[in-house]
C-alpha cells in the first residue's frame, strides 16, 4: 500500500488529486454489531434486518497512519472527506455467496446470523439481499 501511494504521488501532475474510496468503519466500533455492514432481506413491501457482516480492515489502519504522516509533512493536502451510503444487491443466497467468496474474502458472518439470513429468505422467497456498507471518499491534493 505504501509503495502504491508513493508511486501515485510520482505519477501525478502538480496540483493533481489522489482519491481514496473505501468502506467507512470506526475502529472503536468494529466489535459492535452496529459498527458492521448491515444485511437486509428486501422487497417492494419493505425490509427485514437479517444479519451483519464483519470485515477485516486492518490494512486500512496502516494506510490511515501513512496518509496522516504524508499530510503532516506537507506531501499531501487533504481537500475533502465525506461519508455516504452504499448498497449492494444480491438476487439470492447463491449470488451472495459467490460474490463474497471472490470479491469480499475479508468479510465474515457469524453462524447465527447466517442461519437467520437463510431462514428469512426461506420464509420470504421473493426477497433479495441488500448489504448496506457506509463508504468514505477522501481527496488529497499533491502540492
Amino acid at each position: 500500500m505504501g509503495h502504491a501511494l508513493r508511486e501515485s504521488v510520482r505519477v501525478l501532475k502538480s496540483g493533481g488529486r489522489i482519491v481514496d474510496l473505501r468502506p467507512h468503519f470506526v475502529k472503536a466500533e468494529r466489535s459492535l454489531r452496529a459498527g458492521r455492514e448491515q444485511v437486509y432481506c428486501v422487497d417492494e413491501e419493505g425490509q427485514i434486518h437479517a444479519a451483519t457482516l464483519k470485515r477485516d480492515l486492518d490494512g486500512f489502519w496502516f494506510t490511515d497512519r501513512l496518509i496522516g504522516e504524508m499530510v503532516s509533512t506537507g506531501c499531501l493536502r487533504k481537500e475533502a472527506g465525506i461519508v455516504f451510503p452504499f448498497n449492494s444487491y444480491f438476487h439470492d443466497l447463491e449470488a451472495f455467496d459467490r460474490f463474497k467468496s471472490i470479491r469480499w474474502d475479508n468479510a465474515s458472518m457469524t453462524a447465527t446470523d447466517r442461519r437467520n439470513l437463510v431462514r428469512t429468505l426461506r420464509r420470504n422467497p421473493g426477497m433479495r439481499i441488500r448489504i448496506d456498507s457506509p463508504m468514505q471518499l477522501n481527496v488529497y491534493e499533491v502540492p
Binding site: S8, R10, V11, K13, F84, P85, F86, A95, I102
Partner: protein, 99 residues
C-alpha cells in the same frame, strides 16, 4: 456477475463527480479489478487507464469495456510497487477499495 448489483444508484460516481475534478481529466485507477467503476467513469474522463496485478482480472475488465469507450479507456497488468508510467502524467489517481 449474475444476480449481483453493486451500487445501482451510482452514488460512487455521483460523489466523485461532485468532489473530484474528473471531467476531462487523465485518470489512473489503481487496482481496477474487473472494471466496474472504470466503465462508469469512462464517459466523464478524457483518458482513463486502469491497472491490476493479475492477467485474468485485467483480461475480464478489458472484455467488459464497451466498444464506444475503447478509444479513451485502457486496462493493463501492472504492479503498484513500481508503476510503468511517466512522472507527472496524470491529473487524478483513484484507489477504489485498494489503498
Amino acid at each position: 456477475m449474475r444476480g449481483v448489483h453493486v451500487d445501482p444508484q451510482r452514488r460512487e460516481v455521483r460523489m466523485l463527480d461532485r468532489y473530484v475534478p474528473i471531467e476531462g481529466a487523465r485518470l489512473l485507477e489503481i487496482g481496477c479489478g474487473q472494471g466496474r467503476l472504470t466503465r462508469r467513469l469512462a464517459t466523464k474522463t478524457n483518458t482513463l487507464l486502469g491497472f491490476d496485478t493479475t492477467y485474468e482480472t485485467v483480461k475480464k475488465a478489458h472484455r467488459l469495456i464497451p466498444e464506444r469507450q475503447r478509444h479513451s479507456t485502457r486496462v493493463v497488468v501492472a504492479s503498484g510497487v513500481q508503476m510503468p508510467f511517466q512522472d507527472r502524467s496524470f491529473d487524478v489517481t483513484l484507489f477504489s477499495w485498494s489503498l
